[in-house]
């Protein structure tokens, strides 16, 4: 519920600085007009949500309970790491690491054989398909 509240607030406040941004003359009109409408609708949304505050959003509960926050968090965290090591370690190694990490985390350690087979085969096939067949240059 709090999250819902803060996100609506975030959307609404996001619009405020937008309205002042932009440059004089022509390029400004469209974004400015847009942000006025945006502000208007976020206010409507905000008011709408205020009315529904007591109603619990089931999905939001799901997102903060159990394994879900960890799953989402780690997927993103691993993704950030992937972005950093991609150019350093090269496509093949970093992909093996990322996919392997994801699979071990999501699919569980017990299914290690499946994880390893999928990781290696996917990485190699995708590397071959993109760099050899499709001519995409990968680091």
């Amino acid at each position: 519920m709090l999250i819902l509240y803060s996100i609506t607030f975030l959307i609404a406040s996001f619009n405020l600085p937008k309205a002042n941004l932009g440059n004089p003359n022509a390029p400004m009109y469209f974004p400015a007009g847009l942000s006025i409408f945006m502000l208007l609708f976020s206010l409507i949304y905000f008011i709408q949500e205020l009315k529904n505050l007591d109603k619990d959003n089931e999905y939001i509960r799901q997102i903060i309970t159990g394994r879900t926050p960890k799953l989402i968090g780690f997927t993103i965290l691993f993704g950030v790491v992937y972005a950093f090591v991609f150019n350093i370690l090269g496509f093949l190694v970093s992909t093996v690491l990322y996919l392997g990490a994801l699979l071990f985390y999501i699919n569980g350690r017990k299914k290690w054989l499946v994880n390893i087979v999928v990781t290696l085969s996917f990485s190699i096939i995708s590397w071959y398909a993109f760099s050899e067949l499709l001519g995409v240059s990968l680091p």
Partner: protein
């Protein structure tokens, strides 16, 4: 219709390499479309990078094949697992899943494939006759008309997110706002780049699309990843009886044109088409009480109309460059990447491409019906692959796809940001299609608006100056009133449904 260009197109579509792409695209589309929670938009978004090194004709053929492959695939998981791949496959769960529970999974799969096939083929014929006149009509459009047409499309797609219109508008406006990032093409002014040089070309909408559709959907599916049910279904013989065919024949033929016309409308699309196909069929039926219990007509009708709609949706995309749905918006993005500029001129400048695409749709539908009937065993096995293995692969494909766009890892961060953004949109029940659509047409929309205003030296009167623009204006306003109409209809229907429920409970 020009017979020569038709034959030229046919010969291009029949080139072995293009047939190969049709089959591969259809198969891949079917597989991704089958995964619960992942629909055609995701399928096209994730598979876009494959097309980059191809020539534009093969690329558009492949993308179209992925698109309707995903439409076929979406109904596989509806029938077998009761979890539709996307909105347009929801109607297939109503009677398809009950049929599967009764041990008729095989016939259900077969009839849905054949219905999709017939619906698709009927729609291709419609395409053949409607596309060119529409393109010629659109040639007369000026910037004012284009701006209004885009406005109509956007308002229609928002209006169709019934019950969450405010959220739809917000999503649309976020999309439009994202589209303004980068150098302004008319004045060279930097806008909203936050001083990051990487943003000066704007935010690549494909990254947003891949982020929202692929990463966002996967993250969203994490919410209940541990509860996803596993059901083994015996499929049995994948064919239907003569009686079943007799019962579905007319529903299929009736629903095809309905679906096609709905697909052509801006903002509508597979979901609406299949729902309307289903309800029309139910209203016409002599045995409405069987619907929802596994009536074969109730499966055949929406399957035919949703596939017809997916072909119909290509018409506004190709003739006016205006996508009517989330998936076609994604395709438009990819086409622009490939240097093809869909719009009325496409038919004049590149008739080969257009006719090759139209012909490839015939071939593709034939290929898909074969894939879906012969390879049903393999497809069911893929459906058995644990989601926990497939989701990481989708994530990886999204990363690779992003990398091929600009060879920059900065985009990985954008991808993740938009993935999380997509997740929150899903969780808070914001419709995604308006965002994507607005993002893609946003830049054009602003330019057209400004050109229109410039050409009339600053007066807004230009938007009321022609018959077409006034008609578009009226349609836009009407489309915004559409939710009110739907509300009334739904109220009526709900009353009827609850009455029916009472009836079935007492009887």
């Amino acid at each position: 219709m020009d017979i020569n260009s038709f034959m030229d197109g046919l010969s291009i579509a029949l080139q072995p390499v293009n047939i190969m792409w049709i089959v591969i695209g259809g198969f891949l589309g079917t597989v991704v479309g089958m995964l619960p929670g992942l629909g055609p938009a995701t399928a096209v978004a994730v598979l876009i990078p494959i097309t980059f090194s191809m020539n534009p004709v093969s690329a558009i053929i492949l993308m179209a094949a992925i698109y309707y492959g995903a439409m076929y695939g979406g109904s596989r998981s509806s029938i077998l697992l009761n979890t539709p791949g996307d909105g347009s496959a929801i109607a297939a769960t109503f009677d398809g899943y009950p049929m599967a529970q009764k041990g008729q999974a095989g016939p259900a799969l077969a009839i849905s494939a054949v219905a999709s096939f017939i619906g698709g083929i009927m729609a291709v014929f419609g395409f053949l006759f409607l596309a060119e006149p529409l393109a010629n009509f659109a040639l007369k459009f000026g910037p004012a008309e284009y701006f209004l047409l885009m406005l109509l499309t956007l308002s229609a797609i928002v209006a169709l997110s019934v019950g969450k219109m405010v959220k739809g508008f917000l999503a649309m406006m976020i999309g439009l706002a994202l589209a303004t990032v980068g150098i302004d093409t008319q004045t060279g002014v930097y806008r909203f780049t936050m001083g990051i040089p990487h943003f000066s070309d704007g935010i690549d909408f494909l990254i947003v699309i891949i982020g929202v559709y692929a990463i966002g959907e996967v993250l969203y599916n994490f919410l209940n990843i541990d509860q996803q049910k596993k059901e083994k279904k015996k499929v049995g013989k994948v064919w239907f009886s003569k009686d079943q065919w007799k019962r579905s024949k007319w529903p299929i033929i009736r629903s095809g044109p309905i679906g096609f016309l709905i697909g052509v409308l801006p903002g509508a699309g597979g979901t609406i088409a299949s729902m309307i196909g289903y309800t029309t069929q139910k209203q016409l039926a002599k045995n409405p009480e069987e619907y929802g219990e596994g009536a074969v007509e109730g499966l055949a009708a929406p399957e035919s109309s949703n596939n017809a709609a997916s072909v119909g949706a290509m018409i506004p995309l190709l003739t006016m460059g205006i996508p009517g749905s989330g998936t076609t918006a994604v395709m438009l993005g990819a086409l622009i990447m490939l240097g093809l500029r869909p719009g009325p001129l496409l038919f004049e400048q590149q008739p080969d491409t257009v006719w090759a695409l139209i012909n490839s749709m015939f071939i593709g539908n034939i290929a898909l019906v074969i894939i879906n009937i012969l390879l049903v065993g393999l497809l069911v096995k893929i459906l058995d692959t644990p989601a926990k293995v497939l989701y990481p692969i989708i994530v990886l494909l999204a990363f690779i796809g992003t990398y091929t766009l600009s060879y920059s890892t900065i985009d990985f961060f954008l991808l993740l940001i938009f993935g999380v953004f997509g997740l929150f949109m899903k969780v808070l029940d914001f419709p995604i299609a308006p965002l994507v659509l607005a993002l893609i047409v946003g830049a054009d929309m602003e330019q057209n608006f400004r050109m229109a205003v410039l050409s009339s030296s600053g007066s807004l009167g230009i938007f009321f100056s022609s018959g077409v623009s006034i008609a578009l204006m009226i349609l836009t306003i009407l489309s915004l009133c559409y939710p009110l109409i739907i509300k009334l209809v739904n109220k009526k229907r709900n009353n009827k449904n609850s009455a029916e429920e009472k009836f079935t409970k007492t009887s």
